[in-house]
C-alpha cells in the first residue's frame, strides 16, 4: 500500500544527491520492505557535431505531464505489489554529471521492485510531456531526441 501522495515530481535544476539519500533512509522505516530498485538518470557529455554537451535545459507542459505521471503511477501500483513508488524529474538547467531523473520502487521482494522501476522509467520517458534542449560547449544547442 503506497502511503506517499506525491503531487509534484518536478525539481528546479539538478536533483540533489542528498534528496536521494533522504528518500532511501525513509524506506528503512518500512521494515516489511525487502528491496528497492532505483533508477538515477544523469546528464551525459555526449559529443554532437564536434562539441560536447555541457548542460540540458528541461521544459514541460506541467499540467499534462503531472496528469500523465499520476496515471502511470496508478497503473504501476495496480500491476505490482509495491510498498512505495516515487519519481523526480528536473526542470530548468542541469549540468553534465548532475542528476535529472530519479525513480524508486520498493516492495517485499526484488522481482516486482525491479520490474516496476524499469517500466516506470520507460513510460515516463515515452509518455510525459517533457522536452530537453542540449546545450553544447560551443554555445550552440540541439533538441534532445529520445530513442
Amino acid at each position: 500500500m503506497i502511503e506517499n501522495i506525491q503531487e509534484n515530481i518536478f525539481i528546479e535544476g539538478a536533483i540533489p544527491v542528498d534528496l536521494i539519500t533522504e528518500i532511501l533512509l525513509h524506506q528503512n522505516r518500512n521494515t516489511h520492505t525487502g528491496a528497492y530498485s532505483i533508477f538515477v538518470g544523469q546528464v551525459r557529455d555526449d559529443e554532437i557535431g564536434g562539441s560536447r554537451v555541457s548542460a540540458v535545459e528541461f521544459t514541460t507542459h506541467t499540467e499534462m505531464a503531472l496528469e500523465k505521471f499520476h496515471e502511470i503511477k496508478r497503473s504501476i501500483c495496480a500491476k505490482y505489489p509495491l510498498a512505495d513508488f516515487l519519481a523526480f524529474h528536473s526542470v530548468g538547467r542541469v549540468l553534465t554529471g548532475e542528476i535529472c531523473f530519479f525513480v524508486l520502487a520498493s516492495s517485499v521482494h526484488r522481482g516486482e521492485a525491479i520490474k516496476a522501476c524499469q517500466e516506470a522509467v520507460e513510460r515516463i520517458k515515452a509518455e510525459m510531456a517533457i522536452w530537453g534542449k542540449l546545450l553544447l560547449e560551443n554555445e550552440t544547442a540541439k533538441w534532445k531526441e529520445n530513442n
Binding site: 499540467e63 499534462m64 524529474h89 522536452w131 530537453g132 534532445k144 529520445n146
Partner: protein, 75 residues
C-alpha cells in the same frame, strides 16, 4: 484562442505562444500555423486541446486552449 508552443516549436516560431482568431477546427489551425511559421512543417507534433491530445480533424471552440507538442524527450 490561445496556442502554446513546446519543445523545438518554440525555436521554430520564435515564440512561446500565439493568440489568434477565426479558427474553427484543427485543419484551419494547421493552415494558420503554416502561413505564419512555415518552418513548423520541419518537425512532427501532436495537438492537445484543453490538455487532451486529439487526433484527426477536431472542432475548436472559442476559449479552447491549444498546446502543440513535439515528440517528448524527458528522462
Amino acid at each position: 484562442m490561445d496556442i502554446t508552443f513546446f519543445g523545438r516549436l518554440t525555436d521554430l516560431t520564435g515564440n512561446k505562444d500565439l493568440n489568434t482568431d477565426g479558427i474553427t477546427n484543427t485543419e484551419e489551425l494547421l493552415q494558420r500555423l503554416l502561413d505564419l511559421y512555415p518552418s513548423v512543417s520541419e518537425i512532427p507534433f501532436v495537438i492537445a486541446v484543453n490538455n487532451q491530445i486529439i487526433h484527426g480533424r477536431h472542432i475548436l471552440k472559442k476559449g479552447d486552449h491549444i498546446s502543440l507538442l513535439p515528440p517528448f524527450s524527458g528522462g
